[in-house]
């Protein structure tokens, strides 16, 4: 599973991209976030307030209950500020 981080989420995590293999019981975005928070490495800080986090799975916006699976591209980032 490929994880991508952007903007201040990237800055807090410390990297922009990584490939992970979470345990099989991680089945949705919420579970993945809990796993990343427990793992440390900036995860607890980056995901402290989930109201500030947007998630995309395979480049589409999703909610926290959206399933994740091996092979997915999962991106975490703050609300967007383009335009």
């Amino acid at each position: 599973m490929k994880l991508l981080y952007f903007a201040w989420v990237r800055a807090k995590i410390g990297i922009g991209e990584e490939t992970v293999s979470p345990p099989a019981e991680i089945r949705d975005v919420a579970g993945l976030i809990d796993w990343l928070k427990a793992r440390g490495a900036g995860g607890a800080d980056a995901f402290a307030d989930l109201s500030l986090i947007k998630v995309a799975v395979n480049q589409d916006y999703v909610e926290l209950d959206h399933p994740v699976a091996a092979g997915d591209e999962v991106a975490f980032f703050p609300p967007v500020t383009g335009g």
Binding site: F6, A7, W8, A75, F77, P79, V80, T81, G82
Partner: protein
């Protein structure tokens, strides 16, 4: 057409290309977003626009399709820059051409409102206090919500 690029764009050439030779077009509405030198009361000397390559293009293409489904457009164009930009620089161009002005206006307004809340770009401003990630504005969410299809 959508383009995501670091380079600047030539507004006149882009708009001309949209309408050239199509004499059914009665109106062309365009919006250009520019870098301001003041934001939230602070001086901004430059900004860096980060984006999510791949998702950006996917999302912009989808929203352009939606605009073309909802309004009878003869041509539409979204250009969004990324990278380092300075005050006065062009950030984004949205333009829509149609036989009638209402469609051109509404589709253009829809596209920029949508873009502001959904296109995966993030602004990092250089201020006297250092780099600051720009916060999303709730007024942008409200502007986009207006266009929700019932």
């Amino acid at each position: 057409m959508i383009r995501v690029q670091q380079e600047d764009f030539d507004l006149a050439a882009e708009l001309k290309a949209m309408t050239d030779g199509n004499h059914q077009i009665g109106g062309l509405t365009s919006f250009v977003g520019l870098v301001r030198d003041i934001a939230g009361g602070e001086t901004v000397s430059a900004m860096t626009l980060e984006h999510y390559p791949g998702m950006t293009e996917k999302q912009l293409a989808e929203i352009e399709d939606e605009a073309n489904r909802r309004w009878p457009l003869d041509a539409s164009l979204i250009i969004h820059r990324h990278g380092r930009l300075e005050p006065g620089d062009q950030i984004v161009l949205v333009a829509c051409a149609s036989a009638h002005r209402e469609a051109a206006f509404e589709a253009c307004h829809f596209l920029i409102d949508w873009l502001k809340t959904k296109a995966p770009f993030w602004k990092l401003e250089d201020t006297p206090d250092g780099g600051k990630w720009v916060d999303a504005r709730s007024s942008d969410d409200a502007a986009a919500a207006r266009w929700a299809e019932s």
